[in-house]
């Protein structure tokens, strides 16, 4: 019996914590809480956080505010904050209609080098785009996934004691305007694109999320199990309310949590 079981290795399981739209600092705190639990040994499973962010610019570990092309007053008028993060990469934009995946994954357990892991995150986005009939690919000079010379999705991760966190951002139906206010990833002249722009059709975020989960399962060879994100969120009355009420870059207001 035991021989039979060990001969048929079970696919590792990741706990999925799915949230609607979350302010960046709140999502960062969630990741830090999960990471702390992993490092202290009170959480053994890898996790996958799936969400969208309210409009925000984030900086990489090395900064990137020099690639912001608009003034602080302009950003305040649009209700968009600039927040430092410890991930790799440079300045980027997150907002409604962009799918965010934050896998908290033990790279050593999965026998994954950092290079392999980043390549797999790209593979998830390439397969996700393919499901919508869009041919995305890697480019040798830059990471992320591209449709021709336009960037469709980005990767930025951090690794602490061989646990990877942060993750990928996939432009599904996001309003691309705020990308024009920065040099995305610190690269001048980079054009961004989205799945809805490439397909010329509206993109359902519910379907994107479902597709992304299937792509994760295939690319990482794991089984996803639904977990309860409330167990890891800071208990506060309006946990997911928008702290930037002026923000209006919402392609799909109906999908925001009321």
């Amino acid at each position: 019996m035991s021989t039979l079981v060990s001969a048929l290795p079970r696919r590792p399981s990741w706990t999925v914590l799915e949230l609607p739209r979350v302010a960046y600092p709140e999502a960062l705190a969630l990741q830090h809480r999960l990471l702390a639990r992993r490092l202290e040994g009170t959480l053994s499973d890898d996790a996958l956080v799936i969400l969208e962010h309210f409009p925000v610019f984030t900086l990489g570990r090395r900064g990137g505010s020099e690639h912001l092309k608009v003034s602080q007053e302009f950003l305040e008028a649009h209700g968009i904050a600039v927040i430092p993060a410890e991930r790799g990469g440079n300045i980027t934009y997150h907002g409604p209609g962009q799918l965010i995946l934050y896998p908290l994954v033990d790279l050593q357990r999965h026998r994954l080098a950092v290079t392999d892991y980043v390549a797999r995150l790209e593979e998830v986005m390439i397969r996700l785009a393919a499901r919508w009939g869009v041919h995305a690919e890697r480019r040798p000079e830059n990471r992320g996934v591209w449709v021709g010379v336009k960037k469709l999705g980005s990767v930025g991760i951090a690794v602490r004691k061989h646990i990877a966190f942060h993750g990928l951002a996939f432009n599904a139906a996001v309003d691309l305007t705020p990308f024009s206010w920065i040099d995305p990833c610190g690269l001048s002249g980079v054009q961004m694109t989205s799945l809805s722009r490439e397909t010329g059709k509206p993109v359902s975020m519910a379907r994107i999320r479902a597709d992304a989960k299937q792509c994760i399962e295939t690319v990482f060879g794991v089984a996803l199990n639904a977990g309860n994100p409330d167990a890891f969120l800071e208990p506060k009355p309006h946990a997911s309310s928008n702290p930037y009420p002026k923000a209006s870059l919402d392609p799909d207001p109906a999908s925001a949590r009321a």
């Binding site: 570990r61 950092v114 990877a164």
Partner: protein
């Protein structure tokens, strides 16, 4: 990624579980990351190191390396006070990939408790550990 047989691990170093190495030199210790670590990380584009005079305990993060859009922390194999840092990595972080044991060294420290090095691994033990990981 290279097979372990194609990576280099000098005999005169001690290795930590998190893939840092130390070289003891007249009471001080030079620290860097192993050939295995640089190979796992890929092309290193930025190395963030501490300042001279800072003190870190064994296992504490003393800096980060950024490669392929990934920021990875670096950990002290033994505790001590930083006495020198490899400033040349600021302009040439690729030295860590090209020559992790010489030009790609990261910091030099004055150990707090030199006996902490007894918990580190010699080449053979480190190689055994790596075989378990691959």
């Amino acid at each position: 990624m290279k097979p372990i047989e194609d990576l280099t691990f000098p005999e005169d170093l001690l290795y930590a579980q998190d893939h840092e190495w130390i070289r003891m030199e007249n009471g001080s210790a030079v620290i860097g990351i192993s050939d295995y670590a640089q190979d796992q990380l890929g092309d290193i584009v930025y190395v963030e190191l501490p300042s001279v005079g800072q003190t870190f305990a064994k296992g504490e993060a003393f800096g980060t390396v950024e490669s392929v859009k990934a920021v990875s922390e670096l950990y002290m194999p033994i505790g001590g006070e930083v006495s020198a840092v490899n400033e040349s990595l600021g302009d040439s972080p690729e030295k860590v990939n090209q020559d992790p044991y010489q030009d790609g060294w990261m910091i030099q420290i004055t150990p707090q408790d030199p006996s902490e090095k007894d918990a580190l691994m010699a080449k053979d033990a480190y190689l055994e550990m790596l075989k378990g990981l691959s």
